[in-house]
């Protein structure tokens, strides 16, 4: 089959690889009909995630048709249309039973690697380094889906792929970002990053009852979408001091909750960027946390900082004094997608949201390398690329 493989920093290539096979009784094989490039794939592309090996198949946002099931998979059969959540969860361990699926204790065969970096492992993730299991990803014609009786959600006929594909990751991730803010009537929610996840966070914050949503980004096309599609007020951080504007907009109090939908490759202008970039280059700091620092400093005392942007390792100049003295709450995590898929599918079916509004480019799987290049450089107002095998 054809698959988009990671070959090294800023190098991906569509290669011919062996088809996946059922390895365990709870596996299923899915013939992929739609798959996407995630902003977090760019962290792999740009070489910020350790334990990638040349030849690894990328992709953790995919859906398709079940073609084969292991003997223990009773809820799916060949021909079913499914969306596959990016974290692989067993559904049985204490973490899964608490609903913390992305921290499943049983699905990462390379848990020891993650334990070295993070103290404990999390769930295995499709196409996201060997530290997270070394599972081949979904930018391919087929994928093996372990614990297929737990993760994948069946999609009724009649709903096009593009409306439901993002249930695999970015829509639930954005939703969880808003969910973690414990939004109360009258709340102002500020969202750093108006990429697809940030846009879904804004949209979800509104659905959950926020009074105002404020988007922070530097790309005019993204800010325009935030304004038009997510009803947000916007700040271009290239043109204004984010802290000053946020405080002005909230009469000095700050947003009730701040969502970091940027993660480890954030940007800022001025000497601080050079400082962190240099530290990152020599390995003294793995992640650049400007958005997070700003979010903490701007947040109302007693408010919540919700982190859904991906961080890999270590940051510095973390304003812990602000967190502690101002009674802030930090909530974060890889999305527990399995928890959100069903209710969010219902919202899509009811027409409350059509997640396909983030799609800007559609390509064949063969064109994935061009897609990665485009997405990284934000060419042609690129926001979200959907690939079809």
């Amino acid at each position: 089959m054809k698959a988009n493989c990671w070959l090294g920093k800023r190098r991906v290539e569509v290669q011919d690889v062996p088809d996946p096979k059922i390895l365990n009784n709870r596996d299923a094989i899915v013939k992929i009909t739609s798959t996407a490039i995630c902003g977090s794939d760019l962290h792999l592309y740009n070489g910020f995630v350790p334990t990638m090996k040349s030849g690894d198949i990328l992709g953790h946002e995919f859906m398709g048709e079940v073609v084969e099931t292991g003997s223990a998979v009773k809820n799916l059969k060949a021909g079913d249309r499914v969306v596959v959540p990016f974290p692989i969860a067993c559904g049985a361990c204490a973490q899964c039973r608490r609903g913390l699926f992305s921290t499943c204790e049983n699905t990462n065969p390379n848990a020891w690697m993650a334990e070295k970096l993070w103290g404990h492992s999390i769930a295995g993730v499709f196409g996201y380094s060997h530290m997270l299991g070394g599972y081949p990803g979904g930018q391919a014609e087929y994928a093996r889906v372990p614990f297929a009786d737990v993760g994948p959600i069946k999609i009724p006929a009649g709903i096009p792929d593009e409306k439901v594909l993002f249930l695999s990751d970015i829509y639930p991730t954005g939703y969880m970002g808003a969910d973690m803010c414990n939004i109360q009537p009258g709340d102002t929610i500020a969202v750093w990053g108006a990429g697809p996840v940030g846009l879904f966070a804004m949209k979800s914050a509104q659905l959950l009852g926020a009074e105002r949503v404020i988007a922070i980004d530097r790309f005019p096309y993204r800010l325009r979408l935030a304004r038009e599609r997510a009803g947000a007020e916007v700040i271009n951080y290239e043109e204004a001091d984010v802290y000053d504007v946020l405080l002005d907009m909230t009469a000095g109090r700050g947003p009730d909750a701040c969502i970091d939908a940027v993660g480890l490759e954030s940007h800022v202008f001025g000497p601080l960027y050079a400082y962190d970039r240099a530290k990152q280059a020599v390995g003294l700091e793995s992640d650049r946390p400007y958005a997070l620092r700003q979010a903490i400093m701007a947040c109302r005392s007693g408010g919540t900082v919700s982190v859904i942007g991906v961080y890999g390792g270590f940051i510095d100049k973390f304003p812990m004094g602000a967190v502690m003295n101002r009674s802030l709450t930090i909530k974060t995590g890889q999305c527990h997608v399995q928890r959100y898929m069903k209710p969010l599918l219902e919202r899509i079916e009811k027409g409350e949201i059509d997640p396909s509004f983030v799609i800007t480019h559609r390509m064949r799987l063969d064109e994935a390398p061009r897609g990665f290049d485009m997405f990284t450089n934000k060419e042609d107002d690129c926001l979200k690329i959907v690939l079809t095998p």
């Binding site: 709870r26 361990c93 065969p109 390379n110 070394g134």
Partner: protein, 356 residues
């Protein structure tokens, strides 16, 4: 041992160590605990460079070196000029600064050696310091107004101390390495614990059928049940050899404990104990496993085994992770690139991500 002792349940202490019963093996573990205890209660006073029985006792030597460091350190910090003159250099300028720096370094090393229960790396820091000092003294010879006789004496003294430091550090390091096993390094020993969200009886039943071992123990090829208590084990040793032996159950309390050990005369002496205890707060079962292997060929094989494969602790940890997966989910999580699921870099011939 102090740390591990706090992990021991009262029950184990009553049993006097590992629940392996009788014979030389138990003696081995008692000896090792004795050695550990001695290390923990190392006398803090100034002791000479020999142990009571006349051999080279690295613990005591380390103590001596620690106090020596403190003395030299105080001299360097408080009387740098005097110190530099004693060794034949001018007591001024750069050499005075160097003496102060050396003093601070020595104080740090001394405090480190005397306060850490495992001072090996602090003694190694002394070796590094010695090499630096020799370099400094070497540069000293190039100076003009130096007293070469004194400088030569100082160099000889430092060189002598370097030898003592290096030998001591080396021995302490090897002592630390085998502390997971027996004092003579022949026995590989590991203890690990895992919490499993299943009742004890299910876990006990699965484990008691030793033929299940290969499903989660990576190195166990097969276990054939011979009768109620005896079984035949085939185990892959690092380096591609297969070892075989017969084993028998030495303790068996349903839903609580299973202990087993290899029969007399086996090529490998192996024993293990698994305990099942209810986790606090009704959160499943805590499974604690102690395992020992004494491979044929003594300390050399044991050391080679560790170098070639995982450490016994890592191996047991990975095996228990798979046991948990099997018990909670019915299968062992497998990805194409980590088919064996083991905690080590893929070895030749194994499928790996890059080859897809």
């Amino acid at each position: 041992m102090r740390r591990s002792r706090t992990h021991r349940s009262p029950e184990e202490d009553q049993e006097g160590g590992m629940a392996t019963q009788g014979g030389a093996r138990q003696h081995g573990s008692v000896v090792s605990m004795e050695a550990e205890r001695r290390r923990g209660d190392r006398p803090r006073g100034l002791s000479l460079l020999r142990s009571g029985d006349g051999g080279f006792d690295p613990e005591r030597v380390a103590n001596g070196l620690g106090w020596f460091s403190i003395g030299l350190g105080l001299a360097g910090v408080l009387a740098p000029a005097k110190l530099t003159r004693i060794i034949g250099l001018k007591g001024r300028g750069v050499s005075k600064v160097v003496a102060r720096v050396v003093g601070v370094r020595e104080l740090a090393a001394g405090i480190g050696i005397l306060t850490e229960p495992r001072p090996a790396r602090w003694v190694w820091s002394r070796v590094v310091g010695d090499v630096m000092d020799l370099a400094v003294l070497g540069i000293g010879f190039t100076g003009r107004r130096v007293r070469r006789g004194r400088l030569a004496l100082a160099t000889v003294a430092v060189a002598g101390v370097t030898v003592v430091d290096a030998v001591c550090a080396q021995q302490l390091t090897s002592l630390t390495r085998v502390s997971a096993g027996s004092p003579d390094g022949r026995t590989l020993r590991a203890r690990k614990r895992v919490i499993i969200d299943r009742p004890a009886d299910a876990l006990y039943r699965f484990w008691r059928d030793f033929s299940n071992m290969p499903r989660f123990m990576e190195r166990v090829e097969s276990v054939q049940t011979l009768d109620e208590r005896r079984s035949h084990w085939r185990v892959k040793a690092p380096g591609g050899i297969t070892l075989q032996w017969d084993s028998q159950v030495t303790d068996d309390r349903p839903n609580e404990v299973i202990a087993w050990r290899s029969l007399e005369g086996s090529p490998v002496q192996h024993s293990g104990v698994v305990r099942f205890e209810p986790a606090r707060g009704g959160r499943g079962t805590v499974v604690t496993v102690d395992m020992e292997y004494t491979p044929p060929g003594g300390a050399v094989t044991a050391a080679a085994a560790k170098l070639m494969g995982l450490t016994p602790e890592q191996q047991l940890q990975e095996d228990l992770r798979r046991f948990k997966q099997l018990m909670e989910t019915g299968e062992v999580a497998r990805s194409e690139s980590a088919l064996s699921g083991a905690g080590r870099p893929p070895q030749t011939g194994e499928p790996r991500g890059g080859t897809r």
